[in-house]
């Protein structure tokens, strides 16, 4: 409930349990849909749009045509035993998914209430108690639905569930104080230290990101933060980029743990499923040697690292 007694709702696209890499202990991660960035390597492309969208997985499709018949908008057609969607006509109403027997057709994104999410998270409480875990809000970008995010965090706190937020750092500076107040832990992405490259490949403004980082550290202290660096081959895995990331962290007073998140090229199917297969870019394989070098370089700079995999 907000102050006016209206139940706050948000758009989520997944709840994942037994999440191992989203904070301490066993966690349940809630994925909010919608992101201000458009990272070229995005491994959750279905999280970008802030609206529900239809997804179609050809490998699961029995080509039975039930969805084509069920679509009142006439957005679907069967071509060569595969369903083709006209995005202009599709309103993601879900009739196709309801008619689909094999699960090939799905709607990504659903509106959920704070209580509903908190209940779902609370179901795994015994696992958090044993492991020192809790809930993590991820995205998309959680701060893109600030009211919903803060209501969730308040609810977690009320129920005594440890909370973490994963953020790209690209959000309005006015949100920092509440985020610092309500989240027990913030996992903060450092995607690239060069403002030009960052802007080009993700759309983020480094100045905004850095100010948020700096404010968060000042308000919460570095121990309530974990810096996360996605390792994208050919983008930020060179010595200069890593050094830049280290410098960026240090000049804002961060000396804590750095999570390294190695790139994998497994998101191709996800891009295809939402009909954006053409936008997928494969950044190639990340060499083990490269990871080892980065770990070394960061260690020499005084950072502890953990590889998320």
């Amino acid at each position: 409930m907000n102050d006016c007694g209206v139940e706050i709702k948000g758009l989520i696209f997944d709840i994942q349990r037994y999440a191992l890499y989203d904070g301490p202990g066993i966690r349940t991660t809630v994925f909010l849909k919608g992101c201000p960035l458009k990272c070229a390597w995005c491994h959750n492309p279905e999280s970008q749009s802030a609206r529900e969208e239809a997804s179609y997985f050809g490998e699961k499709c029995a080509a039975c045509g039930a969805c084509v018949k069920a679509c009142a908008a006439g957005a679907l057609a069967m071509k060569k035993r595969a369903v083709v969607r006209d995005p202009r006509k599709c309103s993601a109403c879900g009739a196709c998914a309801a008619a689909c027997e094999t699960g090939a057709m799905e709607i990504i994104g659903r509106v959920a209430t704070v209580a509903e999410i908190a209940d779902a998270v609370e179901a795994d409480r015994p696992f958090y108690d044993e492991s020192g875990g809790g809930a993590t809000v991820s995205g998309g970008e959680p701060t893109a639905q600030p009211d919903f995010l803060f209501a969730l965090l308040e609810e977690f706190r009320k129920r005594g569930i440890h909370s973490a937020v994963e953020t790209c750092g690209a959000f309005n500076n006015s949100l920092v104080s509440r985020l610092a107040e309500l989240a027990d832990l913030v996992l903060f992405d450092i995607k690239h230290p060069d403002p030009g490259i960052l802007k080009e490949l993700t759309g983020a403004n480094l100045e905004v990101v850095e100010r948020n980082l700096s404010n968060l550290i000042q308000l919460k202290g570095e121990s309530a933060l974990i810096a996360r660096v996605p390792l994208i081959p050919g983008v930020n895995t060179d010595e200069t980029s890593i050094e830049g990331a280290a410098v960026l962290l240090m000049r804002n007073g961060y000396r804590g743990l750095v999570h390294l998140m190695p790139y994998n090229s497994m998101a191709a199917t996800k891009w295809q499923k939402i009909g954006r297969g053409g936008e997928y870019r494969n950044f190639g394989a990340l060499e083990e040697d490269t990871i080892a070098k980065i770990v070394n370089q960061l260690r020499e700079a005084g950072f502890k690292t953990f590889i998320n995999r």
Binding site: Y18, C100, I307
Partner: protein, 858 residues
């Protein structure tokens, strides 16, 4: 680090067990039969007849010794082979029919004719049409005997020398026709008339040849064999066979004027010991002969191994073992003796890290062995134990099986008899040997709240390296279950696992019989007013007339009908199991097994008469908790609560394999919250169904005065049974496998936590064994201490919630598909099937696909 050549040695042993086609060895059958023929006319007890026959086997069989082995002895004259338990007769018909192409063809024609006769007599025209319609809508063919003889089939083939084949087919098998335990069990169970006569005709018309199970109803079967225990080798290893024989002689002197049956019991025990001693002495002689051969051939390494072996064999098990090497040799010789006496019965090794510990510590203190040397010997032992886990089953089920059914678990860790933590240095060495040997055995790690963190971490490390032979049991729940079943607290602390996942006390639990109840079939009977439909046709009146589908006005009424069907099946199982056990007690006592049970000499009663304790009749809940729970949940929500369609409509959809019933199937499939998602509503159904069964089982006793106990483990029967079953109300298609063991079936995205919460909702303090499989992508355990600790927390939470057992298979679907395409490169991948381990590439395609289809958690 061990020396490279040691690694090679174990790899070579493994390779031989993995790749050599095993021989069917007829020497046991020949020598047993020879003695039986001689004693046929004598007026002696059936127990002494068995002991004499086995003594003849032990005194004359050829014993194989290999110069590359540190542990001497094999149960046949070949490195890889199986003896035939001719008198039990589990596979006599299989051999009669399936060693011979012409006999196989004849068998198929005969069973087809029998089926036509059965159908003509029992089916109306609409029945025949209905059966044909259902059959036409199957996507997979029913199981078939095929045309490949045993030596030519793809899965689990065996070869036999041609002279042996002739002798077996022309002389040995004909003698036993109609006389085997399997024959008589079948006859006596049929005489109970548990089902209408038409059902016996129906079963008769199936082309099955193996007699491992006796089918007593469309929803129930009993295992034909009896045995399945953890033997007390410990006493024999520490005292020696010769001292045991002196003890029996003493008792004979004391009992000289006692009742005749007691004198006979002791005489029989002495004969059995004579046989065991003969085997042990002849093994020594065989090692000596091999040593001489190695000397002549100039094989220096062979000579070194064999002279060590000879020294060990001269001591153990005739005399008390005095070193680690001797105790291992003693164990293996004793296991050969009992496995030969009762092949294809599971004699699990038990708590080897406890039993071997004093010998290991003594050797370490004296500097006579290093940890690495001990580990290498254990690796060999594990592979050897694995090699006895073969069954020459029928081609009808071959696609559903594999060569080594890696049961016979080794139990590790846990508690001492007085309740202290029992983990020790040998526990860790054995875990390492388990991983390095790549033996397809089940290694059970017993965990309790005081288990050392190191044990949890080492177990998790093994899992994280994609080794899936190690399972975990929850001591707190197991202890509670044992005590509830009447075991003492000391015995409950001391449990070991036998079979797949079954709790027993070494030398005390007097053997477990096994039977199975098919839950979905019992539900089918409730839905069809006592009839049931299978892939092979309709069976009428096999269950109770509990009412037509339209007569159920509420979900509770339907549930009541289902429970009535279950009760009826349980009563049939109890009656049939008693009849079977009576046959064993009458014609086939087990004097050679009774030697290794603690109380038989005091009670003067054979194992088959309940000499140790009453033993347990394990009733396996098959086809399956998941499918039956989901079916009931579906009916409750969609038929009774939401009224989307009638029960009759749902049954029609099942008959048609949901083809042409899209609306029904889509509604069924999209119903959220089925069992395995941590949904309290479906979890409650699972709990109430299982609780009902637990209560009902308690009402019955076994022949030996023991009790019926539930086990939730399907082995591979969920695939075979699935193949024989029509579609089920939960949306499972006809012919498809049921969920395995305690696994959920329709799991949404609630991850492993949801699965484990649902499983833990069952009251496992009533269950003496369950297999809970969870298939994980390697990333779900991860490669760091941090993530492995989370995996350990997951298990600990599940145990705290009441889970009893967990057996992870750590392999991605991708990896398993690669293994299907290129088996040669992935021969070492071990997966968990029912409660046991198996090499993935040796499984039939059906089970491979079932394992790949299990939800993958990452």
């Amino acid at each position: 680090m061990s020396k490279p050549h040691c690694e090679d040695r174990i790899a070579r042993i493994r390779e031989r067990y993995r790749t050599e086609t095993p021989f069917i060895s007829i020497q046991r059958a020949r020598l047993y039969t020879e003695s039986r023929r001689e004693t046929d006319s004598e007026k002696i007890s059936s127990g002494s007849r068995v002991a004499l026959a086995m003594k003849n086997v032990f005194e004359k069989m050829e014993i194989h010794v290999d110069a590359a082995d540190r542990i001497a002895g094999a149960w046949t004259e070949n490195y890889v082979g199986i003896p035939i338990d001719i008198e039990r007769g589990l596979f006599n018909q299989t051999l009669e029919v399936e060693l011979d192409g012409a006999a196989m063809a004849k068998r198929k024609v005969e069973s087809a004719l029998k089926f036509v006769r059965f159908a003509a007599r029992n089916y109306s025209i609409p029945d025949i049409v209905g059966t044909a319609v259902s059959a036409a809508k199957f996507d997979v063919p029913p199981p078939s005997l095929g045309s490949a003889t045993i030596d030519k089939r793809r899965v689990n083939p065996y070869r036999i020398r041609s002279a042996d084949r002739r002798e077996l087919l022309e002389d040995i098998l004909p003698y036993w026709r109609g006389k085997t335990a399997a024959d008589i069990v079948r006859r006596d169970v049929a005489a109970l008339r548990l089902c209408p006569d038409s059902f016996s005709e129906f079963i008769d018309a199936l082309p099955a040849t193996a007699r491992e199970v006796t089918i007593i109803s469309p929803a129930a079967a009993i295992g034909t064999w009896q045995g399945h225990l953890v033997l007390d080798y410990e006493t024999a290893m520490s005292r020696g066979l010769l001292a045991m024989r002196e003890d029996v002689k003493d008792r004979m002197r004391r009992a000289a004027n006692g009742p005749a049956n007691e004198a006979d019991f002791l005489r029989t025990a002495k004969t059995a010991l004579d046989g065991a001693v003969a085997f042990a002495e002849r093994l020594s002689a065989a090692v000596e002969a091999a040593l001489n051969r190695a000397g002549k051939a100039g094989d220096e390494r062979g000579r070194a191994f064999l002279s060590q072996s000879l020294a060990d064999c001269r001591v153990a098990p005739l005399h008390p073992a005095r070193s680690f090497r001797q105790v291992v040799q003693s164990f293996w010789t004793l296991k050969n003796i009992s496995d030969l006496a009762m092949p294809f019965n599971v004699h699990a090794p038990g708590r080897l890290d406890q039993i071997f510990l004093p010998y290991f510590r003594r050797d370490i203190e004296r500097g006579e062995i290093s940890g690495d040397e001990a580990r290498e010997i254990l690796e060999e032992l594990f592979l050897k134990v694995m090699s006895h886990n073969m069954r020459p089953g029928s081609s009808l089920t071959a696609e559903f099986t594999q060569r080594y059914e890696g049961s016979e678990p080794v139990t590790l860790g846990g508690l001492t008899r007085s309740g202290e933590d029992a983990t020790n240095e040998l526990t860790y060495i054995m875990l390492e040997a388990a991983e390095r040997s790549k033996a397809s055995l089940n290694f059970v790690v017993r965990l309790h709240p005081r288990s050392p963190e190191k044990l949890c971490r080492e177990t998790a490390k093994i899992h994280s390296r994609c080794v899936s032979s190690v399972s975990m049991m929850n001591d707190e729940i197991c202890f509670a279950a044992m005590v509830k079943s009447g075991f003492s607290e000391e015995d409950a602390n001391d449990y070991a696992i036998t079979g797949c996942v079954d709790m027993a006390v070494a030398g005390r639990t007097g053997g477990e019989g096994f039977s199975s109840i098919l839950l979905c079939r019992a539900l089918d009977m409730a839905l069809r007013n006592g009839d049931t439909k299978t892939a092979a046709g309709i069976v009428k009146g096999a269950g109770l007339r509990t009412g037509a589908p339209d007569s159920f006005k509420s979900f509770e009424q339907l549930l009541g009908a289902f429970f009535a069907q279950l009760d009826n099946e349980i009563a049939k199982i109890a009656a049939a199991a008693r009849a079977r056990d009576a046959v064993y007690a009458r014609i086939l006592p087990a004097p050679n097994i009774s030697l290794f049970l603690k109380e038989t000499l005091d009670s003067m009663k054979d194992m088959t008469e309940g000499g140790a304790d009453g033993g347990v009749e394990g009733v396996l809940l098959m086809s399956s908790v998941a499918n039956v729970t989901d079916s009931l949940f579906t009916i409750k929500k969609l038929v009774f609560e939401r009224g989307l369609f009638s029960l009759a409509r749902l049954i029609r959809a099942m008959d048609d394999n949901f083809k042409g019933h899209r609306r029904v199937r889509t509604a069924v499939l999209s119903l959220p919250g089925k069992w395995g998602n941590g949904n309290p509503e479906s979890d409650d159904i699972a709990r109430s169904v299982t609780n009902h069964i637990f209560r009902e089982l308690k009402k019955h006793k076994t022949y030996k005065g023991g009790f019926l106990a539930p086990f939730i483990n399907s082995m591979t029967a969920h695939t075979i049974d699935g193949r024989m079953s029509l579609a089920t109300p939960d949306g499972r298609r006809a012919g498809m496998p049921f969920a395995a063991s305690c696994n959920p079936y329709n799991v949404e995205k609630n991850g492993p936590t949801g699965v484990l919460k649902s499983i833990a909702a069952i009251d496992f303090t009533e269950v003496l064994g369950c297999a809970a499989n969870i298939r994980l992508h390697p990333s779900a355990i991860g490669g760091s201490d941090e993530t492995r600790d989370k995996w350990i927390s997951l298990i600990k939470t599940y145990f705290r919630l009441g889970g009893e057992q967990l057996q992870p298979t750590v392999a991605s679907a991708e990896m398993l598909r690669c293994a299907q395409k290129n088996p040669g490169a992935h021969r070492d991948i071990i997966v968990k099937v029912g409660g046991y381990s198996a090499y993935f590439t040796e499984l039939g395609r059906e089970i491979q696909n079932e394992i790949i289809s299990r939800s993958e958690h990452s």
